[in-house]
Structure formats: structure tokens, C-alpha cells
């Protein structure tokens, strides 16, 4: 058990493992995502109410899903950073924070594009929209703090504390926003409820969610490898590797 832990903590070991995983993650992710998207965008039945405009769900839902779970993954990594001081966990947090921010933005953007034809407006101060916006702010805060502290060790721990404080707040923010919203504006609009979706729409959606997860795994590995190379640039194995690849 402890040996595995120590191995997991070693950037060099991870680098090798990531090299082996990445092609699998990339190609299976692309395959699932594209089959989900093509099925969803071209072959899934039209919605009786929204027509074709609902098809943005196949991009919107996966990115929104992942945007939230990336933050939870970051929080788990933050615990590891604080408790076991494993460097790799911090590498993960810093590598995926911008990815999470982009996914959150993508979810908000596709939501706005979807909102225009269905709700008649780009933006409303709805509970879900607002809490996603706050999630975006939390990602920005993590990125800003990570950029502000030069020292690697204290930056790792400070960012971990911030991520954990944020994760405690996420449910509070979510419920406060939901309550605030129902106070001021009665539920006029609701997203299409998921269970009420026919199977031909649900399966491609599931495929694209899974595909995006796998692609995220690939991208996270790639970004972590880059971060490791920068951090360990003075070590021997990195120098050897770069020389071998550069020639």
C-alpha cells in the first residue's frame, strides 16, 4: 500500500505511466465523443417542443458535468496535497484548473446559445446559471492564487486550502442561489428533465459524456507531463529524455 503511494508520488514514474495510458485515453475518448456527437447531432430524433435546437445538449451537458466533477477531483487532490504532501497531487490541481475553467465557460456559453431560442434570452439569473458562474469565479481564484505564489511548496499548500474552502462552499452556494431564485422569480423555465428523455437521445448523451471524461483524462495527463517537465527540468532523467527526443 505505502509503496504504491510512494510510487504514485514520483513524477518520473507517473510520466512513464502517462505515456502508456495516453494513446488509449485519447483514441477511446475521441471514438466515444464523436460517435456520441454524430449520433446525437445527426440521427437522434427531434424534440417535439424545441425542434433541433435541443441538440446543443450533447455539448452542453457533458461540459457542465465535467466542469463540476473536475472541481471535486481537484478537491480530492488538495486533500492529498495537505495530508501526504504528494507533489503529483499539486501538479494535478494546477494542470486541470484552467481546463475546468474552460469547461465551465463552455457550459455557460452553450447554455446561453441554447437559452436564446428556447427561453428567448441569452442570460437569466437562474439558479443553475448563477451557480455555474460562481464556479467559474472559483476556478479563476485558484488560478490567480497559483500564479501569485512563486515558491512551489507553499503555493501547493495555499492552493489546496483555497480549493478545499471552495468545495465546502459549493453546496452552500448552490442551495443559497436556488432558494434566492425561487424567492424572486417563480419557476417559469425548466430544463428538459433528464429521466423523461427517450433512449435514442439518452444513449448518445451518455456516450459523449464518457468520451469527454476520457479526453479530459488524456488532456490532464498531457498537461501534467508538461508541468512535470518544467518542474523537474534540472533532474537527470528529464535531461536525458529531452535529449533523446530532441535529436
Amino acid at each position: 500500500m505505502w509503496q504504491i503511494f510512494h510510487k504514485l508520488g514520483s513524477p518520473k514514474w507517473f510520466f512513464g505511466i502517462a505515456d502508456r495510458w495516453m494513446p488509449w485515453l485519447l483514441w477511446s475518448g475521441l471514438l466515444l465523443l464523436f460517435s456520441g456527437l454524430i449520433w446525437g447531432l445527426a440521427f437522434a430524433p427531434e424534440d417535439y417542443l424545441q425542434g433541433n435546437s435541443y441538440r446543443i445538449i450533447f455539448i452542453h451537458v457533458p461540459s457542465a458535468f465535467l466542469a463540476q466533477s473536475v472541481y471535486i477531483m481537484m478537491a480530492a487532490a488538495a486533500v492529498v496535497t495537505l495530508v501526504w504532501r504528494i507533489k503529483l497531487a499539486d501538479v494535478f490541481v494546477k494542470a486541470v484548473a484552467p481546463v475546468g475553467a474552460v469547461l465551465t465557460f463552455l457550459a455557460l456559453f452553450t447554455g446561453a446559445v441554447w437559452g436564446k431560442p428556447t427561453w428567448g434570452t441569452w442570460w437569466i439569473w437562474d439558479a443553475r446559471l448563477t451557480s455555474m458562474l460562481i464556479l467559474l469565479f472559483l476556478y479563476f481564484g485558484v488560478m490567480a492564487l497559483a500564479a501569485a505564489i512563486a515558491d512551489e511548496k507553499s503555493s501547493a499548500r495555499a492552493v489546496a486550502v483555497l480549493v478545499l474552502v471552495g468545495v465546502v462552499n459549493i453546496p452552500i452556494i448552490k442551495y443559497s442561489v436556488e432558494w434566492w431564485n425561487t424567492l424572486h422569480q417563480p419557476a417559469t423555465f425548466k430544463l428538459t428533465e433528464k429521466p423523461s428523455m427517450p433512449l435514442e437521445m439518452w444513449v448518445p448523451l451518455l456516450l459523449s459524456v464518457l468520451g469527454l471524461y476520457l479526453l479530459f483524462g488524456w488532456f490532464a495527463c498531457l498537461r501534467m507531463q508538461t508541468e512535470i517537465l518544467i518542474r523537474e527540468r534540472r533532474t537527470r532523467w528529464v535531461k536525458e529524455r529531452v535529449q533523446a527526443e530532441g535529436s
Binding site: 472559483l138 490567480a144 495555499a158 452556494i173 443559497s176
Partner: protein, 241 residues
Amino acid sequence: MGAERKAGLRSAGEPVSAGAAMKAVFLRDLKIAFRQRQDMLNPLLFFIMVVTLFPLGVSPEVSFLQQAGSGILWVAALLSVLLSLDHLFRHDFDDGTLEQLVLQPQPLFLLVLAKTSAHWVFTGLPLVLLAPLLGVMVHLDGNSIAVLCLTLLIGTPVLSFIGAIGAALTLGLRSAGVLLSLLIIPLYIPVLIFGTGTVAAAAEGAPVGGYLALMGAFLVLAATLAPFAAAAALRISLSNS
């Protein structure tokens, strides 16, 4: 400064209980705050000025102000607490007192709790006391003003406690002010929502007990958890410098 430091920290001799240490830190911070009255006054002046901007910038109509007044006061209070947070640990950090606090045998989170409470007494509490005057200026009715003051009384300590985490994290960094706001504002949103929501409910004649209870729950949560996070952040920031 030397005398002030001693007022807070006994040098040697018999062990000091955690409660006594908290009291000493609390009184010391208050004493320093009252000796530097201008620092205490600035966030208050900022509060008044921000509130003034809204009738001038948006609309002086009574109907608008009545509706938006509580929100304006809450946002202004939130911003002035945010501005005052920089003072929470900065001076102690600069003159080394903070390192002495970290080295004390008493748990650091208790000392942070005492420091943050003192900070609230000279920043949050004056805001609460000033709120009725500004409430009259934005044409809130008596009942709304009373509820508003109550929400501010419960809400501003929450702002101070959450803010302490941000202040501790950004201690000793360049451009800490903007960074602090970036980190903390998202966490302030629930407090703001419930603060203004309570006043809105009161204005509609709805019972506000439930809201106030929830804000009380925020306060308990913030007062018990935030000092731990802030203490951890302080240790990190001190090891960084």
C-alpha cells in the same frame, strides 16, 4: 510597538490558558485599533460613499431606492469589509508579531478566532451601527431598517471570518488586494443572498425567523471552520516568507 506586543504575549513564567491567550490577543488588537483611529474610520467612510453613489448614479427615485436600498447597503458593507481585511494580519506580519503568535503553545486557530473577532468589533460593528442612518437616506421603512441591521449584525462577522482565510492566504504577496477580492467574493455570495433576501421577505411582510436562523447557521459554521483554514493558511504564508 514593543509595549503593545507585550500586552498580548507574556514572555515566560507560568503557562497561559488558551482562554487567557485569546483574551489577551483580542484586547491587544482592540487597543492597537483604537490607537490608529483613522484606519478604523476609512472603511466606514468608504461605506457611506459607496451608498451615496447609487442614488446619484442610478436613480434618486424613492420607489427605486426603497426596492434596492437593502441590497445597496449590503453590497457596500461587503465591499468595505473586503477593503479592511488587508489590515487583519498585515501589520502583525510586517513587524513579526504573527510569527510569535504561531509559536505560542496555544492552538493557533483560537488566536485567529480572537483576532478576527477583534477585527469585526472595529470594522463590522460600526457598519451595523451606521446602517440605520443610511437606511433612512435610501427611504427604507422602519421595519426593514430593523431587519437590515439584524442581518448585518449576523452577517458581517461571517464576512470577517471567511475574509480571514483570504487575508491569510494572500499575506505577503504582491498585489494582495485585488487577489484577495478575487478569492473571497465568490465565497461571500451566499451571505449576500440571504442578507438581502431576509430584508426583502420582511418588506413583503413574510416571517423572517427562518432566514435569520439560516444566517445564524452560517455564522456558527464560519466561526468554527474558518479559523482552522485561516490558521493553516497563516502557517503556509509564514513559511513562504
